[in-house]
Amino acid sequence: MIDLRVRERPDLRPTAAAAASNGQTDIVLMARGLSFWYGDTQVLDGIEIDVPGRQVTAIIGPSGCGKSTFLRCFNRMNELVPGTRVEGAVVFGGRQINDRAVDPVEVRRRIGMVFQKPNPFPKSIYDNVAYGPRVNGFRGSMDDIVESSLRRAALWNEVKDDLKKSGLALSGGQQQRLCIARALAVEPDVLLMDEPCSALDPIATTRIEDLIRELCEQLTIVIVTHNMQQAARVSDRTAFFTVTDAGCGILVEHSETQKLFTSPADERTEAYITGRFG
């Protein structure tokens, strides 16, 4: 069973209720004319994308086309890298978030992230999951939030008898699910996943893919993947990025996954998904 509790949070909450009432999915995340530079090197150019809520959006494209960079624009992780520059707007819940006036801490608390390599803290499983609630001043039953997060990440049954065990003592696939549980524990509205299965075997991958399908009933997921089958399996919509001759990442096409894989509008997309590129 999945825990469907939603805590009261008046601030910034995107219009999920409004979406439910008028029966159509709202756009939760938007990029408008988004360009990005590492130093003097431009790696993203004029990205425009709408990410609908409570769906899985996959981002595919050849290596080095800026998928990770793009994903990290959504939770402002890029600004931790010195010498970077963003232009354009990232809009979340109707508000531009890549703005000095907006606290990145608040953004990251609402837009969680799971990394390519599992990175549990060298702490117990319990403390890993409780980390986010603790730093964000959660007052309430920590045991409950730890349990429900681990359940949502489909890890509870495997670890419930030994929550004091180090997170590092888990297998790779379990560690990644622990990282997902950790991200879910702050109850984000969006979960960004950067190749979350690339370090995992096929069985662990399947588990995480199932999990993604379950989670998208409650939150919005943006996932970067190199695996086109995976994109086809888990996502509702797919965005194809490519890299120009100048080494700059651009968004070529973004549509329903079904459509993108069966009748791509752009020949570059077709070349990529039929394996004639990269």
């Binding site: 992780m77 990394f115 730093v135 950790r182």
Partner: protein, 305 residues
Amino acid sequence: MSAAPTAAAPAPPSSTAAGVWRPRKTLRRWLGWAFQGLTIVSTLLGLALLAALLFDVFRDGAGQVDGHFLSSYPSRFPEQAGLRSALLGTLWMLGLTAVIAFPLGVGASIYLEEYAPDTWLTRFIQLNIANLAGVPSVVYGLLGLGLFVRWFGLGRSVLAGSMTMALLILPLIIVASREALRAVPDSLREGAFALGATRWQMVRRTVLPAAAGGILTGTILALARAIGETAPLITIGALTYIAFDPQGPMDLFTVLPIQIFNWVSLPQKGFADLAAGGIVVLLLVLLIANAAAVALRYRMQRRLQ
């Protein structure tokens, strides 16, 4: 492709399209052994020298160390003399130095590693901190004399000595702590940020616990260096003859190495034995400090499991 597998692996070709292959396996194996042997010899040599030194010191000094030796003040008569005041002085100085140098050193290293932008100024500062670790200790003594003893008016007190020692070991603590902080993988920092932690929360809850073992070890090694230093304290005018217990940070003081140095320089035979006893006590203090470091580190790691 269709040939049946043979028992012996086929010999690799000695020449391929790219060039000639000369594996010289015997030579390579011998070189490997030779190098391993060399490293073993250097290890044993170091250990043997250390063992000889310890044996020599303990043979001369161990007999001296008894309750009377530890609880008596220095005296003109070797059979009455003890190192009570020097031992207490060393403990006072150790405590005060730790209290001053630890927060400053760890704080500076956290700033440099976790907060400071990577500019030429930061790099210049870092380079110079590393250089400071190599400055002769007498120089710190002169600085302490001018700054703490005279300008701050602290006199020849334990506090002035401890502040001088803190200056001396500050670069060591900063360098060791920075190494420990740098060993914490960035993926942990990113993980903390991605959960909505502020920089301070990230440092406090993720980086410091992971680096604590290295920071503590570095600090204790630096303090061990302070226990053994004599020159800066002689420079600031720590006395050699103290016949009372230091009661507070403003009291006059002496320390074990100064007392030992003083006994060594006296002509009577009895004082040479006292010096050996003093060295044994000094070594014991060092061993206890190091054991404390190991125990602390172990507890830290246990806590993290």
